[in-house]
Amino acid sequence: MATRVIAGKTVQVNDEGFLTEPGEWTREIGQVLAQEEGVGELTDAHWKVIDFCRQDAKDSGKAPTLRRITGAAGVSTKDMFKLFPKGPAKKVARISGLGKPEGCV
């Protein structure tokens, strides 16, 4: 497994740059990954989604799909595409230090 240093911390990542150990994630790492994903400075609205995804992944063992996020976090599909343009579920999963979401919906 490859490792890389993000925000001064060495973490394990897969081929696509997703963290493989959610426990290694920090909020500083989240901010660096957000810049890489073109999301920019994270606001409270972003953190609300990220915090939900972290908790949901902890409970279920997998990163939530977009429909799961919009259904359970109280954020609309429109807002998700505004907050994390071009592939919201995938981007938020990577920023949150989770694996790529599985499932078609």
């Binding site: 599909t77 429109k78 595409f81 592939g87 919201p88 579920a89």
Partner: protein, 167 residues
């Protein structure tokens, strides 16, 4: 990465329930991967965007060789639904309700909600001019999110450079 964003165009020409979901599922996946999505509705595909028809899309068991009794949870293997039964009143509604149940089981939303999700995610919907004229429809007959009624020639311009999937 190239400057031009990847663009997938779906042409929906069928209104049978089983032919409606592929564009919804793939279109949603495309948006989830940062790909631009356009959907062009034509002929029977107009049902998907027509307010009066959208909630009533169906699947008929007649002459559908893939629809087996086992869909209903019966241990009947490859035994099909006999066509002679399929012609009975109510059989299309029955087959449709089974399909709705199967779709709900995998967590996929009903057609209207799914299409709205795609629109909210940035998909652009267009209706075919010839079909609109043929079926006597107007823009007011369509669900929210249908941007315009366009000709085949307009479609050629709009889909330049895109990957086109005909359903």
């Amino acid at each position: 990465m190239s400057d031009e964003n990847r663009h997938v165009v779906f042409i929906c020409s069928k209104g049978n329930l089983d032919m409606v979901y592929p564009a919804l599922v793939m279109g949603w996946a495309a948006l989830g991967n940062g790909i631009d999505v356009t959907i062009f509705f034509t002929f029977w595909g107009m049902d998907i965007i027509t307010k009066k028809r959208q909630p009533h899309l169906e699947i008929a068991p007649v002459a559908n060789t893939s629809m087996k009794m086992s869909l209903m949870g019966l241990p009947t293997g490859n035994l099909g639904i006999p066509n002679i039964l399929g012609i009975l009143p109510g059989m299309t509604a029955f087959a449709t309700s089974i399909m709705h149940k199967k779709i709900a089981e995998v967590g996929a939303p009903p057609v209207g909600e799914y299409l709205q999700m795609l629109v909210d995610g940035g998909a652009r919907l267009y209706a075919c001019k010839m079909s609109v004229d043929m079926f006597g429809l107007t823009k007011e007959d369509f669900v929210d999110g249908v941007e315009d009624i366009v000709t085949a020639s307009d479609f050629m311009d709009m889909s330049e450079g895109a990957q086109i999937i005909f359903i």
